[in-house]
């Protein structure tokens, strides 16, 4: 599992192509009628825009020379009408486009977020969180305009080009060919620039994602930085990341801005060619009127081409974002419900490990052929040196990871045949780090049981002895806490997390160092509560304070991924093995 850090770019496994744009049609499809409507409205308003010049011409040619005020008034009000209509159409299009664009953003973001919920720990563990964050928020925001306005305008421009081309060819083929002659040149330019631009956008995205990742991490770790006086170095690193980002930005910005000057010059060159050809080269055959008309067409033809070139640039930028978004959405879900996985309503709590081996990284065995059975209602403690694989066993029971080899059964059913949701909702898992959400204390406890009543919340807190400190807080159970825990001490956070687990009324309880930061006295009180909770439930406990586990039905000593000793406290003490040694060390 290769891990990523803030200054390592994330490479894309797959190539980089317009197929991504095609894929985004999934998101456009639900709004296709809106899009078509917008397209029609835009077409109508551009036709209306063509009407005004003809009206103007009649004013110049007829109304004014004749001094016909009546006609003048009529024509001017017709113009007014045309303007009014085109403005209304334009506004309608605007409304439709923002409706579609915002909905697409919503849909894409929902998809990426929903998918993230299914991704395993390893996904989150292997990259800075800031890099995930930018994809969910910033990248998604950046794609909507291209997918709505960009797309509609591109279609309009294409229509315009075809439309004008038809008129041109109908009028004069030779000059039309000259006007078209700029196209191959443009295509060559696009072709040459394309890869450089893509690469530049790609690099830029990477650099900006690195920058965000570093900012994120620096905020999270600010206390550590202050403890070690690292601010100056951090600022230098930040500065360096900024420099690299800026360089990437300039390159991408200049390249993206190169298109429009090139097309504009090309447009001017073609126009000049038309004049030269029309006047000097094929002059006898060309009428003045035709030449002027063709010159007008030439600029009318190239206008949408220039605008297409700009849209094309935006498409390029957008694909580089889409790339990242789709990459995340495509991230394989390693642990998912197998076909035919069953929902289980109730768990008895019989757990069996059969020849289970596990490696986080290939070749490094964390668990080596572990087998054991635990009966309903039994309590099991895992002890042993750090890194021996205790937490791994627990992670496997709740299927946070899949065993590399072997099988795990709950009530005789292999856990792979049980839906993850129903499996985990029957388990109360209390992890080492007690993450607290930004919410009230009651809200955090309620996370274990969303429809819990106030009384249930209070009773859960009483069970884990958290009620005393909570009631001392200014707003009691309604006191707001933040992700960082703000005013809560580590021990208090553990108690809140504990209450959260208790309230979920699990059949199997897993406590991974659940009480490490809780003082001994509270722990003693807690013990009564815990015993009450554990009654009739299967439980797995990891604790370093052996006093907390001596009453367990089974104690397993884990060393180097194997169970070396297993038995009750008295049995193991009598054995005078590893456990005995450990116990005496206290």
């Amino acid at each position: 599992m290769a891990r990523n850090k803030y200054d390592i770019d994330e490479e894309l496994e797959k190539g980089f192509d317009f197929g991504k744009l095609k894929r985004s049609f999934v998101y456009i499809k639900p709004y296709k009628w809106f899009m078509i409507g917008a397209l029609l409205l835009s077409a109508l308003s551009s036709i209306l825009a063509l009407v005004t010049p003809t009206l103007l011409q009649r004013v110049m040619d007829i109304a004014i020379p004749d001094g016909n005020r009546g006609l003048l008034t009529r024509l001017s009000f017709l113009t007014l009408g045309a303007i009014l209509l085109s403005v209304v159409f334009g506004a309608l299009r605007g409304v439709i486009m923002s409706y579609c664009g915002q909905h697409m953003i919503y849909d894409i973001r929902k998809d990426i977020f929903d998918h993230l919920q299914q991704l395993p720990f390893s996904y989150y563990d292997s990259r800075p969180h800031g890099k995930i964050l930018v994809r969910v928020v910033n990248y998604v925001n950046s794609v909507s305009d291209t997918l709505t306005n960009g797309l509609v305008n591109a279609l309009l421009d294409l229509m315009n080009i075809v439309f004008i081309a038809v008129f041109m060819f109908a009028m004069d083929v030779k000059l039309s060919l000259i006007i078209l002659s700029g196209m191959p040149v443009l295509l060559v330019v696009i072709f040459l620039l394309k890869n450089v631009q893509k690469r530049a956008n790609f690099v830029l995205n990477n650099k900006s994602s690195n920058l965000t990742a570093y900012t994120c991490e620096s905020i999270e770790g600010v206390k550590v930085s202050q403890i070690f006086n690292r601010q100056q170095e951090n600022m230098e690193i930040y500065s360096r990341l900024n420099d690299v980002y800026q360089k990437a930005w300039f390159k991408s910005a200049y390249l993206n801005n190169a298109m429009s000057p090139i097309t504009e010059n090309l447009k001017q060159l073609v126009l000049a060619l038309v004049y030269v050809a029309g006047i000097l080269l094929i002059s006898p055959s060309i009428e003045v009127g035709v030449l002027i008309a063709m010159a007008t067409y030439s600029s009318r033809f190239w206008q949408p081409v220039v605008s297409l070139a700009n849209i094309y640039n935006n498409f390029l930028k957008t694909t580089s974002y889409l790339e990242r978004i789709f990459q995340t959405i495509d991230e394989p879900v390693d642990i998912k419900d197998t076909e035919g996985a069953k929902e289980i309503d109730n768990i008895e709590g019989n757990v069996e490990f059969r020849n289970v081996s596990f490696e986080y990284e290939k070749g490094v065995r964390v668990l080596d052929n572990v087998s054991f059975t635990v009966k309903k209602g039994e309590s099991v403690a895992f002890v042993g040196p750090t890194g021996a694989g205790k937490s791994t066993i627990i992670n496997l029971i709740s299927r946070f990871y899949e065993p590399t080899e072997g099988q795990i059964f709950i009530d005789g059913v292999e856990i792979r045949d049980i839906t993850i949701e129903s499996l985990r909702s029957k388990m109360g898992i209390m992890l080492q780090d007690s993450f607290i959400f930004t919410d009230t204390i009651a809200g955090n406890v309620r996370y274990g049981k969303l429809d819990a009543t106030d009384e249930e919340v209070r009773s859960a807190c009483r069970t884990v002895c958290a009620d005393t400190f909570i009631e001392k807080m200014p707003d009691g159970y309604e006191t707001g806490v933040t992700e960082r825990g703000g005013q809560l001490s580590q021990g208090q956070r553990q108690l809140v997390a504990f209450a959260r687990t208790v309230i979920s009324d699990p059949a199997v309880i897993i406590l991974d160092e659940a009480t490490s930061s809780i003082d001994a006295e509270t722990e003693k009180l807690l013990q009564t509560g815990i015993e009450h909770i554990l009654k009739g439930r299967t439980s797995f406990v990891i604790a370093h304070r052996l006093s907390t586990i001596r009453n367990c039905d089974k104690i397993m000593y884990i060393d180097k991924g194997r169970i070396t000793e297993c038995g009750t406290h008295d049995e193991l003490m009598a054995k005078k093995g590893d456990y005995y040694r450990l116990h005496n060390a206290q």
């Binding site: 923002s98 969180h129 900012t215 620096s218 993450f435 274990g448 001490s489 108690l495 450990l582």
Partner: protein, 641 residues
């Protein structure tokens, strides 16, 4: 007026988030700034690249004027060359036209370069200042502003500042120049008609003004929603383990979907408000064509102007109407800019409340390691009092253990020594000098904490341990790891010290993380080393070895150990029991004999060979007695020894 409105809104918003009430009143959050202040802010941060910025704007003005040349050339081409038959002029005219385009696009590119350089430079200046600010903020700051919100400010908000600087400014210049040039030219031809056309302008401005009023709060709200998105997503990502442990994926999806939907709704509301005004402005701008025909036609029939003059007018209407239509765009962007700029400015000027005093002592040499609390009381903002009138002394090279119930203020003592918080009353002294009279840098140079909530960076193991000094020799890194009993497992990792560990050290077990954090703390060679429950997840055997190592560190240092296990504390020179805001100090034997709490813990943890219990009730609550008791005796003993 506007200011009041914003303030009110700010208040309302603040009430919504529970966490921000935490430090209310401690710091006045600047609600809103005048537009000119925002501009000044941008200008201030443009320093160094101001010439580029000005040149960029000048180039814009020049290109805006150049644009007028080619239509004139086309006119010559059609009238003189084609219709008039002056073919020899064809090539020169075409050359001029092509030259103009070439110059125009060249200047445009140059302008882009200038503007990009200026705006990127501004961004960098702002970003760096913000980053610097964050680095030096005291901890309570982060209880108020969540990391997702800071991320919003350094990404989304700055993007609007960039957009303002690199786009809005030059478009405004382009607009004004084009409009003025056209007006000048048209006034020259027909003042009456020009006046008729310009009469539309006040209406457009009025419309824009009304729109402005209406949409400003909407953009502030969108800004808030964007921040909600960042906060929501980042919390979900950070808490992914809990989400999975409780199988709350659906709940999280729903929760996020709500935020996501709010963001969408607000954006649409703003877009619809915008779409109600744009047509009006657009219509008013385009009405110019109508006016030109109606009024111009009448004037023409009157004979006041010629047909050629009218052609000129119709040909130049765009130069008047386009800038007018652009007004609404610009205002829209300015609104976004304003909403974002206020957020950026707020954090840009956020000065830490805990900072060096004037004339603070910056001790370069190592501390001797004496720590004294003199009548210290402390409470976190609005919370209950954690410490009340506590006094004690730790002497150089002592090992002190701190024990006490959950929430009794053990971590607070560490936080006060390192000055992460300031005392509510009393003094904390290191080597006899109040920590508030020392520079933060010198305190942190001398005091090293292995924190309870271990935060590791997504960096190599080596990078994490040598965090305090990236230039540290590898040998020293190994040595520190060995002292922290971490060397063994690190070497067993696939890439040893070069293994990258994930953010927060995920992938490592709790005990492994704690040992790396301890190695990191030792690497700083502190004079005062604080282990805040750093051994809770470490197994007993390792802990024993660790304790031995800590007593035999290759440098002098006062060691403060916060722990729950008797095994972790019994060998300390002094054990301090923290209970109900006051302290009792003693040794293992004396406390086991006299202190109810300690005795209890010993019994709970099945500690054998305890002396008989002779409760001394006064001991629990009388710090005075503690100070004059064996405390000083131990001290003299130390000094003698």
């Amino acid at each position: 007026m506007e200011k009041d409105g914003n303030l009110k809104q700010k208040k309302r918003k603040r009430e919504k988030t529970p966490s921000s009430s935490y430090a209310d009143g401690e710091r006045k959050i600047i609600a809103s700034h005048s537009f000119s202040f925002r501009i000044k802010f941008v200008w201030h941060n443009l320093r160094g690249k101001r010439p580029q910025f000005i040149i960029g704007l000048l180039l814009t003005a020049i290109t805006s004027i150049i644009v007028i040349v080619n239509p004139y050339m086309s006119k010559i081409l059609v009238d003189d060359v084609i219709r008039g038959g002056k073919r020899d002029m064809l090539v020169p005219v075409l050359l001029v036209m092509s030259g103009v385009v070439l110059v125009k696009t060249g200047l445009h590119m140059l302008k882009i370069v200038m503007m990009e350089q200026a705006s990127q430079n501004m961004l960098m200046a702002i970003r760096k200042t913000i980053f610097r600010n964050i680095q030096y903020q005291e901890m309570s700051f982060f209880d108020k502003i969540k990391s997702g919100d800071i991320i919003t400010r350094t990404t989304g908000d700055l993007e609007y500042l960039r957009h303002f600087c690199a786009w809005v400014t030059y478009v405004t210049v382009d607009m004004v120049v084009t409009f003025t040039a056209a007006v000048v030219m048209l006034v020259y031809v027909s003042p009456v008609l020009t006046l008729a056309l310009i009469s539309v302008l006040p209406f457009i401005l009025l419309c824009s003004f009304i729109y402005n009023k209406k949409v400003a709060p909407l953009y502030r709200s969108i800004r808030q929603r964007l921040s909600d998105l960042n906060v929501g997503a980042s919390e979900n990502i950070n808490g992914n383990r809990v989400v999975k442990a409780f199988a709350r994926e659906e709940y999280e999806k729903e929760k996020f979907s709500h935020i996501n939907g709010q963001y969408m709704k607000d954006n649409m509301r703003a877009a619809f408000a915008w779409q109600r005004v744009v047509p009006v402005i657009d219509f008013l701008a385009q009405i110019l064509t109508f006016l030109t025909i109606l009024v111009g036609g009448a004037l023409c029939i009157n004979g006041s102007i010629s047909l050629g003059d009218l052609t000129l007018f119709t040909g130049l209407t765009w130069a008047l109407s386009d800038p007018m239509r652009q007004v609404s765009n610009i205002l829209n962007d300015m609104q976004r800019f304003s909403a974002s700029a206020d957020k950026v400015i707020e954090i840009y000027y956020a000065r830490p409340l805990i900072c060096d005093r004037h004339n603070a002592v910056d001790t370069k040499e190592r501390f001797k390691g004496k720590v004294e609390f003199r009548n210290v009381s402390f409470s976190y903002a609005k919370g209950p009092q954690v410490l009340s009138n506590v006094s004690f002394k730790f002497y150089p090279n002592e090992t002190i253990a701190i024990m006490g119930p959950t929430g009794s203020g053990k971590t607070t003592i560490a936080n006060l020594i390192a000055r992460f918080y300031d005392v509510s009353s009393g003094e904390v002294l290191i080597d006899g000098v109040d920590v508030r009279d020392r520079t933060l840098e010198s305190i942190h140079r001398g005091v090293s904490i292995a924190t309870q909530d271990v935060f590791l960076f997504s960096d190599t193991v080596d990078g994490n341990i040598s965090f305090c000094n990236p230039d540290m020799e590898l040998e020293q890194v190994y040595e520190c790891a060995e002292l922290a009993c971490a060397d063994g497992f690190i070497r067993r990792m696939p890439e040893g010290y070069n293994t990258i560990i994930g953010e927060r050290g995920v992938g490592l077990s709790g005990g492994q993380r704690q040992r790396i954090a301890l190695a990191r703390a030792i690497a700083a060679i502190p004079s005062i080393l604080i282990l805040d429950d750093t051994t809770s997840a470490v197994d007993m055997e390792t802990e024993k070895k660790m304790q031995y190592n800590l007593q035999h560190l290759p440098f002098h240092c006062t060691t403060i150990i916060i722990a729950q296990r008797i095994s972790s504390v019994r060998n300390a020179d002094k054990i301090m029991i923290l209970e109900n805001g006051s302290v009792t100090i003693g040794t293992h034997d004396s406390l086991a004999r006299t202190n109810r709490y300690y005795r209890n813990v010993c019994e709970l943890q099945k500690i054998e060979d305890l002396p008989p219990f002779e409760p001394d009730e006064a001991n629990g609550s009388s710090p005075e007695k503690v100070k004059t008791g064996f405390d000083d005796a131990i001290a003299t003993e130390k000094e003698v020894g």
